[in-house]
């Protein structure tokens, strides 16, 4: 068997002295889509942020291998350049830095790391406009400050645009669906589906089953109390939607899938 894209082994992490992740085990292979579901506060965003390298999360034990390398030792920007992309639950605003400047700087940082030539202004514009069309974003967004004054849905779309531009191997989407109306959800899902390929994997963190109607996962995991307490196929998500998390936390999910 070939090497897994991402291997999380017995990962423990804390935030401000509070244990949040209490032994996560998860293997993601190229081409797979994993959904991670779970009640609010169960540690889904913590897991996503730890993978992206956010500083205020402290890993206390366990390891994470990305393409066989120790991901936890890599700088934040190197993780991104190596192909780990986190779409944020709450994308932040950066007034004064235009979307275009930001995207071009990010893209060229990533391309340089990957041994590709930096794109000039013309090629960059051609590429970004093509991706924006896919996400039905108006080109005027390029001249605005990053997420500055964007609606919730526009911010999420902007994050997916960044993902499409940076061409990651592992996309981690943290509740990209929440706060989206149904049309935006469909556009975002189509954007993600267009990026699905045998070399790329996704981890979809979501609270609702709805997203999984559009982006059909290969595996569904339930995170609760900082641990994955159940895993299964997409049927698990349907059961969760019908019976709630209480059912799985009490042990009912063992019968389904895994």
């Amino acid at each position: 068997m070939t090497m897994a894209l991402l291997e999380i082994k017995n990962l423990h992490a804390k935030v401000e002295e509070k244990e949040i992740l209490q032994g996560i085990n998860l293997t993601v292979n190229a081409g797979e889509v994993h959904a991670i579901m779970g009640p609010n506060g169960s540690g889904k965003s913590t897991l996503a942020n730890v993978l992206a390298g956010r500083e205020n999360y402290e890993v206390t034990s366990g390891e994470v291998l990305y393409e066989g390398k120790n991901l936890l030792e890599m700088d934040i920007e190197d993780r991104a350049r190596a192909g780990v992309f986190l779409a944020f639950q709450y994308p932040i605003e950066i007034p004064g830095v235009s979307n275009a400047h930001f995207l071009k700087t990010a893209l060229n940082g990533v391309r340089k790391y990957r041994g590709l030539e930096e794109l000039d202004a013309m090629d960059f514009l051609t590429l970004v406009k093509e991706k924006m069309k896919l996400l039905q974003m108006d080109p005027t967004f390029l001249n605005r400050g990053v997420n500055e004054g964007f609606s919730g849905g526009e911010k999420k779309r902007n994050d997916i645009l960044q993902m499409a531009m940076l061409d990651p191997k592992l996309g981690i989407l943290d509740e990209t669906d929440s706060g989206l109306d149904i049309d935006s959800l469909r556009i975002v899902a189509e954007g993600v589906n267009a990026l699905r390929n045998p070399n790329r994997a996704f981890v979809l963190v979501t609270h609702y089953q709805r997203l999984l109607d559009y982006i059909v996962p290969d595996f569904v995991h339930v995170l609760s109390g900082g641990k994955i307490i159940a895993s299964g196929d997409k049927e698990l998500a349907v059961h969760l939607e019908e019976r709630g998390y209480g059912w799985v936390i009490e042990g009912g999910a063992k019968a389904v899938g895994a």
């Binding site: 920007e77 991104a80 004064g96 990533v110 790391y113």
Partner: protein, 434 residues
């Protein structure tokens, strides 16, 4: 201390100086001798010590050196030379060969101030030394004592200049520490419009002591860019006084990037209904640089508005001072005034003292003010890094974004872009701004 200035003054004044100017200069010297250099026991100078200036040994540069300063050097040292009229000065002396006074509409006067004192003496006497008083301001008094060079711009009623007037003050002592006392007088009659770009640059150690006076007549629109890009070992003191008539609009963009020690005093009097002032400022210091901006807006009459935004970026062991005075006189009902000072601290050792000074004596007014001191937002830094932008570049981009709120308001495209590049290059040597 003041005695060396006294000696230089006597030597300098022995030349042929007309009566009005001779009296004014004598008065300036007398006041300066009486006041002496300011010290930190004075409220206005509490956070800015001028000992390095007081103890420095500065010489008036000779006017013979002027011809050695070439066009190439001018282009090398100026931030940006735009098409249009300009006056160039070296060590305070007018440089006619590098200046361009052509293409001005009829009735507009633009010349060296010394020349204007002869050619337009009545008007100059009417307005000179009235907008920046020197009775209790030592540096303005000192400037007045040595007053002979500088720029004079007169805009007759309704004159509109489409190109900016550029004033370039270069200091270059060739080893010796020089002092210059540039003086600028702008008289804008009613309904006239002009943009003035005052630039200060130089090399080595020197002392610039500038005074700029502007009179904006009824409905006049004056845009005033002041760029301070002095050398890192220079001392820069500037006093700017503006007088505004009915419905006039004065906009100041004051950008301070260089200098070991900088002090800007910028003040306007909104002296008739409907006048507005916009004060837009940026200071960016590092190392051991010290920058002090004292601004003052005097709402003397009703229905005037003022808006002020000053931003500071402080790195290294630098120190900054912002003191923003807003005076609303009892008569000035329906005043609208807004003041913001935001500071970005990039190092552990940088320091800022910020103080709004609101004196409001009218009751029907809208006045807001606020000051912030902060560091870069780490969640923004994380966001950029998570997209593959390295940490240093991420910080530079965010700092640049902070500055661009001010610089972005400069309307001359070339100048604005040049400044943006310059700021970006300072933050991120070797990278280009987008």
């Amino acid at each position: 201390m003041t005695t060396s200035y006294q000696q230089a003054f006597e030597k300098d004044l022995s030349r042929d100086v007309p009566g009005f100017l001779r009296r004014l200069r004598n008065e300036g010297m007398e006041r300066f001798a009486k006041l002496g250099f300011p010290n930190r026991r004075m409220e206005e100078w509490k956070y800015t010590g001028v000992d390095p200036i007081a103890q420095g040994d500065f010489h008036l540069g000779g006017d013979k050196e002027v011809s050695r300063f070439t066009l190439e050097e001018m282009h090398r040292m100026a931030f940006c030379v735009l098409p249009g009229p300009r006056l160039v000065f070296l060590n305070g002396h007018f440089h006619p060969a590098l200046s361009d006074l052509s293409g001005l509409p009829a009735g507009v006067r633009l010349s060296n101030l010394g020349q204007a004192l002869q050619e337009d003496s009545l008007r100059v006497e009417t307005y000179l030394a009235k907008q920046v008083g020197f009775q209790d301001r030592a540096f303005a008094a000192l400037n007045t004592a040595f007053l002979q060079n500088g720029a004079y711009l007169y805009l007759p009623r309704g004159a509109v200049l489409t190109q900016p007037v550029q004033l370039l003050f270069v200091s270059h002592g060739n080893g010796a520490a020089v002092v210059s006392h540039p003086r600028v007088l702008v008289v804008a009659e009613s309904q006239s419009q002009a943009t003035l770009i005052e630039t200060y640059v130089g090399e080595g150690a020197y002392f610039t002591n500038a005074v700029t006076e502007i009179v904006a007549g009824e409905g006049a629109v004056i845009e005033h860019v002041k760029l301070q890009g002095e050398s890192d070992s220079a001392f820069h003191i500037a006093s700017i006084g503006v007088h505004q008539e009915r419905d006039s609009l004065y906009t100041s963009h004051s950008i301070s990037l260089g200098g070991a020690l900088t002090r800007n005093d910028l003040g306007t009097t909104l002296d008739a209904e409907g006048a507005s002032a916009i004060f837009n400022g940026l200071y960016m210091v590092t190392g051991r640089q010290h920058v002090d901006n004292h601004t003052s807006i005097d709402h003397a009459k009703p229905h005037c508005t003022s808006a002020e935004l000053y931003k500071g970026i402080l790195d290294g062991h630098s120190q900054g001072v912002f003191n923003g005075r807003i005076l609303v006189r009892p008569d000035a009902q329906k005043t609208s005034s807004q003041q913001t000072n935001k500071n970005l601290i990039l190092s552990e050792d940088a320091l800022i003292n910020t103080k709004p000074l609101l004196e409001i004596y009218a009751n029907d007014v809208k006045c807001n003010h606020g000051a912030t001191i902060g560091r870069l937002d780490e969640s923004q830094v994380f966001y950029l890094r998570a997209r593959g932008i390295d940490a240093k570049l991420a910080r530079s981009l965010l700092t640049y974004a902070f500055a661009s709120e001010v610089v972005g308001q400069i309307r001359q495209d070339l100048l604005r872009e040049r400044l943006q590049q310059l700021i970006f290059a300072r933050l991120m040597p070797g990278k280009e701004a987008a």
